[in-house]
Symmetry: C2
Subunit: 467 residues, 2 copies
């Protein structure tokens, strides 16, 4: 690309002014304020440096780990430095699951002829026996295949869940939703038919060598019935499947050493700017501070944390004094318990706090495309009225839909919850895997997300959400 | 991110059907056909494998190089395998500029105390004398600073152009446009004041260590007046600038060995599917096959080439027989001469061909956001009528603007020219630099671009562009 196309932004803005003089926003001052927000994010933003520290100085922040505590301390200290009205830690008990020494796996095509494959224990899984598990493998495309196979074909074997994410869905989160039952419920379902372990194809659209962990559940299985569960990389899943077609009798071996400990105390990290005219109306913006232990959790969800902190930083920088109370919450334990989000909502209820809006960023630090909303139709209609203010920033997606796991417990009849929706194409290349690292986050993309969040919070604060 | 938002795509499509029964497209068959196009691109696309070959088996494809010829041969062979109606090579003479052995540069803060910095010769630059150039440096923020400094402060020195790309522009191509005069005209302007060489800050929004090359011009300067020109990485530009503030008398040394040879013969690679009912109306889709010699030209513009080839591949795969002639053109020599694009337009004119539409992809293989158009207002209005067909694929940008350099020479009063507009945030991290490599291209993003192009070409073919 050598010669460039011209941007006709100025003309377009002029046209907006003509068309939208009747809408629910003040076109000049809001346009200017939002331009200021984006300019500050892109030139004086702190999000990228904060993320660098969280990712490279601290690293993966699994609930209950030293790193999670370091992240609590670091982000509290950074919030303290912003000159907010109040910064505090909200105690919450969190599960402590530890991976232990690295997992190891291979399949054996004939005695002694083995091929090593990359696996990772699913979060919450039990360990294998000390010498590992070894048995024949039965490949299925999902939970629904188990009944047909029955105990006759499953008992004593390892179940290999290998339904890939659907590549034809444009929204990769929809592909993820269509697959993740294998990871979450695979073990508790397979155990009903006598399986001794499960292996799940990683939730990744790309063929590569990274196994992706993630939460799983045993339901109400007693401890002695639990079977070990691990994810295998997509490349290795393809290889294993191809090998099984040639020889269904190959054996799979894996060994993992993970362990669940007693709950430990941790914290949500909270900071707020008190509202000038409606301090009792609270707007929450947040992400989750914990991450999996693989990689450094840059996209999931270091990005969401630093973007949320940036919202308050930008308000301070541009000298915007909000009418309502703007609170940043860095939630602890989204990945394997949601304890932070649950506790935050409980405390809010106890204190009879009035949350009017919650915005979560937990879909990666990629170029923002828009927001999804969950709340009263009337609020959504009001928000849609602001859509044109975002067009210069290529924010185009305003849809009803979900918000974020951590703010979910705040749900009631009146609150509006929202989620930032970045471009989703690359998210699952990194999600819950060793390669979710700082290098995969682009500074501008991260900053544009923060600016988009700040702009939306600014409008909600200024105009409220009542019709 | 653990829990997901729901896509309400089905409902939305239903709503479109209600609203758009009167628009210029047949909602059911077009929706289905476009869905098929995206599905094929994402599941049976060849673009990623083609790009892998171009990038990793061939590499950088500077005009006149062996690699450029290999790329001609390879893409012709691949087009031959698609069962098109005609595939041919169109001869064109191209410049041959060769970088020679690697450039070398340092600045010297006191005799013998030197700091090496990464530079790269600008495309078309002359070499330094065999022992290099060494002199004091005068830093400027652009061409307009030269007159104020005058010969008194410039003569015998190296001019260092250090105006950075504007980070506040959302469209990074606009930032590029606002800076690239320093690279293109920096040498010919500085020479007027007696400069003996120029160094240009790389056209990159990110601070990193990659120098970015690109075309430059000496205007009509005679050979003996030409001065060497190189780009310096953004990190090194910052360092040099900071050092100059401390000590304006530091010396800069650089040495480069590039050389311009006589023109050589090369080719545009062309393939077409003959139109079934209006074969005389030609739709061109293309990218440029040449690249700079740094990196492997994956984003610029291997991506555009394989996406353009994919358009025809997809039509074949879904069994769509176009009404009009669909031609893919892989243009040679966009980067340092535009000879391929110029020759293609000349031959088209000689043959009295009727081109109704041209679409170029030359902005990287990132997630597609939309298209810009250059042509009659009436055509644009017709195209805008199809916009809702693209919404399920998150293609939202339809604006008047530029198209692509290679198809530019086809411009006349009736033709509509268009450019694919991918997300632009990361483009200049890689543009014309050593890190423009295959690893930086995401398969899905590349394929979505190809599908978007195919869908637009399908609609233009089916409905034409006359009002």
């Amino acid at each position: 690309m050598r010669i460039n196309f011209k941007v006709k932004r100025t003309i377009k803005l002029g046209i907006y002014c003509l068309f939208f003089v009747q809408t629910g926003w003040s076109q000049n001052s809001d346009q200017e304020q939002i331009k200021k927000i984006y300019d500050v994010a892109l030139t004086q933003g702190k999000s990228y440096d904060w993320l660098n520290y969280l990712s490279n100085q601290i690293g993966g922040r699994l609930s209950g780990s030293i790193q999670a505590q370091q992240a609590v301390n670091y982000t509290k200290q950074e919030l303290d430095s912003l000159g907010l009205d109040k910064v505090w830690l909200q105690p919450v008990m969190v599960p402590k699951w530890v991976r232990g020494i690295p997992e190891f796996a291979y399949f054996e095509t004939s005695p002694g002829v083995t091929t090593n494959v990359p696996i990772t224990a699913l979060g919450g899984s039990v360990a294998t026996p000390p010498n590992g598990v070894k048995s024949e493998v039965v490949e299925v495309k999902g939970l629904e295949d188990l009944a047909a196979l029955g105990e006759a074909q499953i008992k004593g074997k390892i179940v290999f869940y290998n339904r890939p994410m659907d590549p034809t869905l444009i929204n990769t989160f929809a592909s993820y939703s269509g697959c993740v039952d294998q990871r979450y419920a695979g073990a508790m379902e397979a155990v009903k038919y006598g399986a001794i372990g499960i292996i799940v194809r990683s939730m990744n659209l790309r063929l590569d060598d990274y196994p992706h962990t993630g939460s799983m559940s045993y339901g109400d299985l007693p401890e002695n019935k639990k079977i070990p569960a691990a994810a295998i990389s997509t490349n290795a899943a393809e290889l294993l499947s191809a090998t099984l077609r040639l020889n269904p009798n190959i054996k799979f071996y894996f060994k993992q050493n993970c362990k669940q400990f007693a709950d430990v105390e941790s914290y949500n990290v909270i900071g707020e700017i008190k509202g000038s005219t409606h301090p009792e109306e609270i707007i929450v913006v947040g992400g989750h501070l914990d991450s999996w232990d693989l990689g450094d959790g840059s996209h999931d969800d270091g990005a969401g944390c630093v973007q949320s902190m940036e919202v308050l930083q930008i308000f301070k920088k541009i000298g915007y004094r909000p009418k309502r109370t703007i609170r940043v919450v860095l939630f602890m334990n989204e990945e394997n318990g949601l304890r932070g989000g649950t506790e935050y909502a409980n405390v809010a209820k106890e204190n009879k706090e009035n949350h009017i809006f919650g915005l979560e960023s937990d879909s990666g630090g990629f170029t923002p495309r828009g927001f999804t909303f969950d709340g009263p139709e009337s609020s959504f209609e009001k928000i849609i009225g602001w859509k044109d203010l975002f067009e210069p920033y290529l924010i185009h997606l305003f849809e009803m839909g979900g918000s974020g796991a951590d703010i979910g417990p705040l749900k009631n009849e009146s609150i509006t919850l929202a989620g930032l929706r970045p471009d989703s194409q690359r998210y699952f290349d990194y999600h819950h895997a060793e390669n979710d690292t700082f290098e995969q986050v682009n500074k501008r993309e991260l900053e544009l997300g923060a600016a988009s969040m700040t702009s939306l919070v600014y409008l909600v604060d200024k105009y409220g959400l009542t019709p």
